[in-house]
Amino acid sequence: MGKIFDKILVFLFWMGGGLLMFSTVGTCIDVILRYCFNHPIHWMLEITEYIMLYIPFLGAALVLKEEGHIRVDILINHLSERTRGRLNVITSFLGGIVMLTYTWYGGQVTWDFFKRGVPALESLRTPMFLILMIIPIGGFFFTTQFFRQMVDYYQKLKN
């Protein structure tokens, strides 16, 4: 189960990579078409904006697993290993609860927009739920990773 979860995290992360390359190449093509042929890709800018929201939510859980999120460790580095371990359990739990709240309310808002069929106020009229749904989806994996991390820290503390 854990291995499948890890594979999903990697998949989501690389999906973010794919989206990033799509917006990079797409933006360049857009600039060239606009300058050379006076024919820009009208939807590129809007899609790129949505991708900017997708990337962090797709990558957050794997970055947490790789301990890549910035932490101010100046204080905790001076604590004893046991106290640091306890603090890690507490902060992982807090992180899990915070992200669970965002996931829950993110899910509610997305569901609400889906039911009402609200489009974004941009030219493509993209359904809002398609834009917002990455918050509960990415949030779910981020939450779960926090709780997995908490269990890991707790087991290390016990041993």
């Binding site: 990033l20 900017m52 929201l53 962090p56 807090l94 808002v109």
Partner: protein
């Protein structure tokens, strides 16, 4: 839970800022600490649980901005320059042009830092690349440890000032000034700082030649110098133009220029035969990793500033500062000193996101140009990278030079820290150093 809880502005400030800082120091990731504070802030000041749905919509709004594409693009450029080792060849080509001058390799570090800083938005990439390349050569030539390490640390910091600079984009987003203007505003301060470094190295090595013994250089034919320059330095110049020139001339938005620069650097690395699937994978991995944590911090801190304003903490602070009737310049200097102090304990991004929402409303109320203050803040962030105990670059250097005691690394950084303080004072006295180029920019 639908009611707001009435609170004095300073209590609101203490709750929001104090709570966030406490969570950060407990070791919760910086972005998640802000997300936590946003939940508390929403509960207390924005209508309780019903405000959470608004919070989700604010999350979406804060990141769906085309301007933010600049951040991953600059990171990608830095990753490509770093992993493909393109900059190494450019440094070799530059090396041919510096004659038998005091502190030659120190000057080479400054020149390389300026050029590499202009092609990479990453201070870490610049420091680690210059450090691993030039320090062994400096040691072989008998340079004293402080003269090996100092110039590299100083030059690494240039990447944060000279565009493309990731922090400049983030700062511009937080301060709500033009991203293009902010990037261009870093050029002259960056060049000024590079000149200060060069003058210091020249004078110090001229007075004390034993710390950087001069050595003879085998003569290199002019034709070879020109050839190497054309092959390895000029194309980097093209990348610099793609990013800086396009923004300056108003031909495209900073995000579009950054995307062109990123693709340009990938194409260039392919031409040099320095790109393969493995390197490309590393570049994308590094880019997404950094973008993820940065975007979470930016997203959460932008909402944090809104809550801070909504709670009355920002306006209360402005009124309190105005009531003190202190000279405006003194307020500005106190802010810069506070940033300098915080730089000793926290990383740049955390400082920027926690302090900017508090300082900027005051700055605007006092009538200062936000671009000018943001440029000074950038130098201050640079300083934070070089000051113990939390100077990021000091740790990067320790990673490159594990056998060198931290005390020596810190001592090496000191003269360069002083150069940065001088540059900061110069910009404070002559705001045009930062504001002249943005004033010439064509509106895109």
């Amino acid at each position: 839970m639908g009611e707001n809880i009435p609170m004095e502005w300073w209590m609101a400030l203490l709750l929001l800022i104090g709570g966030t800082v406490l969570l950060m120091f407990m070791g919760l990731p910086v972005g998640v600490s802000f997300l936590f504070a946003n939940l508390i802030g929403t509960l207390v000041f924005m209508g309780g649980l019903s405000g959470f749905k608004l919070l989700i919509l604010n999350l979406e709004e804060s990141l769906t901005s085309f301007g933010l594409l600049t951040v991953p693009m600059f990171i990608l450029m830095g990753e490509v320059m770093f992993h493909s080792k393109m900059a190494l060849r450019a440094i070799d080509a530059l090396d041919y042009w510096i004659g038998r001058v005091p502190g030659r390799l120190g000057l080479l570090a400054v020149a390389s830092g300026t050029i590499f800083g202009a092609t990479s938005g990453s201070t870490i990439a610049t420091t680690s690349m210059l450090g691993s390349l030039l320090i062994p050569e400096m040691e072989r030539r008998g340079y004293q440890k402080t003269m090996c390490i100092g110039p590299i640390l100083g030059s690494g910091a240039l990447a944060m000032l000279i565009p493309p600079s990731i922090l400049a984009v983030i700062l511009a987003t937080l301060v709500e000034v033009s991203v293009g203007g902010m990037l261009i505003a870093g050029i002259l301060p960056g060049l000024l700082l590079a000149s200060f470094y060069a003058i210091y190295i020249l004078i110090r090595c001229w007075i004390q030649p034993e710390i950087a013994p001069p050595y003879d250089i085998s003569p290199i034919p002019l034709i070879k110098k020109l050839k190497e320059m054309t092959i390895y330095v000029l194309p980097l110049g093209l990348i610099i133009f793609l990013v800086v020139g396009i923004i300056f001339l108003g031909m495209a938005t900073p995000s579009e220029a950054a995307a062109m620069g990123a693709i340009g650097s990938i194409i260039l690395s392919v031409f040099y035969g320095e790109m393969n699937w493995e390197i490309f994978r590393k570049c994308i991995f590094g880019t997404i990793k950094m973008t993820t944590f940065m975007f979470i911090i930016i997203m959460a801190s932008m909402i944090f500033s809104q809550i801070l304003a909504f709670s009355g903490a920002s306006s209360g602070l402005i009124q309190a500062v105005v009531k003190l009737e202190l000279p405006s310049l003194l307020v500005l200097i106190s802010m810069q000193v506070t940033l300098l102090f915080l730089g000793c304990f926290m990383d740049n991004l955390s400082i920027a996101v926690i302090v900017v929402p508090i300082f900027m409303p005051v700055i605007k109320a006092l009538g200062f140009d936000p671009l000018w203050v943001a440029a000074m803040t950038l130098i201050n962030m640079d300083l934070g990278n070089l000051t113990p105990p939390f100077g990021l670059q000091l740790f990067v250097m320790k990673g490159i030079q594990p056998m060198t005691p931290m005390a020596v690394i810190i001592r090496s950084a000191l003269p360069f820290v002083l150069c940065e303080v001088l540059a900061l004072i110069a910009i404070m006295i002559f705001p045009d150093i930062a504001l002249y180029l943005p004033s010439l920019m064509r509106k895109g």
